[in-house]
Amino acid sequence: MCETCGCTPALSANTQTVEVLSAVFAANDRAAAHNRLHLGSHGVLAVNLMSSPGAGKTALLEAVIDTLGKKYRLGVIEGDLETENDAQRIRAKGIPAIQINTGSACHLDASLIHTAMHQLNLDTIDILFIENIGNLVCPAVYDLGQEANVILLSVTEGDDKPAKYPVMFRVADLLLVSKTDLLPYLDDFKVDRAENCLRKLANRAPIIPISVRSGQGMDDWLHWLEQRYQAFRKSCSQTNLPHDHHHP
């Protein structure tokens, strides 16, 4: 359109129209595919944890480490800057953790994960957790190469969050309704309503109410995790990927 009147000037004879039709995130998707290949060839299950700031991602990781840390070799890529020492909290438990310094970024992307991944010895890791940046919008649209998205929704946030943030909640492979020990003090959060909102996004992901304080739901969540791990390992051995990934 022309600046002065908003009309559309006729194309000059030497103007060429090029149909592109490619996703603006295509480069990220390619990088994520590379990560997936890499993780698959090492048999590492990658789980992407997403939520609002403070929903309990790091606390959940600590609880997982305390219960599964002896059975599985765990690793963490820490992207959340909510508290400076999230990675230190993990390392204090003897688990390798890479802190990504995102500055003021609002999401992690596949190339950040790639760099962090290569700082870990993937041959010594079974399950790799990625703690994404606390944000209920854009982290969801960046594929990182993960096998599953786990989204935390704390009961202090309101049960209509899935309806307000469809971009995020539609990609959930598991929804953890966190901090349920606080439910007695919050009469306006109904797990059923959160579930309803999620189902309306055509998302049939399981929902587990959970609390790291009371321990509610921990068994179900760990069971889900172990099942995903077994299924993933099975698919890895079936495809039998040779490990010769190379960098573009």
């Binding site: 359109m1 194309l11 000059s12 030497n14 103007t15 060429q16 129209t17 090029v18 149909e19 592109v20 039709l21 490619s22 996703a23 603006v24 995130f25 295509a26 480069a27 990220n28 003021s104 970024a105 609002c106 999401h107 944000n135 919008v137 854009c138 969801a140 649209v141 899935p162 309806a163 307000k164 469809p166 971009v167 539609r170 909102c197 189902r199 309306k200 996004l201 055509a202």
Partner: protein, 131 residues
């Protein structure tokens, strides 16, 4: 410096940061395409956006206007078309446009639906001038 200005104007820090990063991805793609068409100058860009892309069209427009100086898109006119979410129903096989937070098939009320449009930010078309 200009980033502060925008944050100040729109008062949505994190989201503005996001559209700047999307803008960088777009400019990368445009540079690649410009190299494939040597001698051409990009004069028009058409993006198609939808409610599930995680990108706000207005903010992206601002970001591109601020970032395009000294790039292959410096003289390009950007158009962003907003499309609604469209879903395909696996039960009745109809396609319909729906609100982003209610994917219920308007035809048969099924929730066995999947997004077939409006779920991504697409670089649809470029116009290049060959002087």
């Amino acid at each position: 410096m200009f980033i502060f200005l925008v944050i100040f104007h729109l008062n949505e820090g994190a989201i503005v940061m996001h559209e700047f990063s999307v803008c960088q991805a777009l400019l990368g793609q445009l540079t690649h395409l410009a190299n494939q068409h040597p001698g051409g100058k990009i004069v028009g860009i058409l993006l198609v956006n939808g409610p599930l892309s995680g990108v706000d069209s207005t903010l992206l427009h601002h970001a591109v206007e601020l970032c395009k100086k000294d790039t292959v898109a410096a003289e390009a006119v950007l158009t962003i078309e907003d499309r609604p979410l469209s879903i395909h129903c696996r039960d009745c096989l109809h396609d319909n446009e729906v609100p982003a937070n209610d994917w219920t098939c308007p035809h048969c009320a099924s929730l066995a639906t999947e997004a077939v449009g409006g779920d991504a930010l697409i670089l649809a078309r470029l116009q290049l001038d060959f002087p």
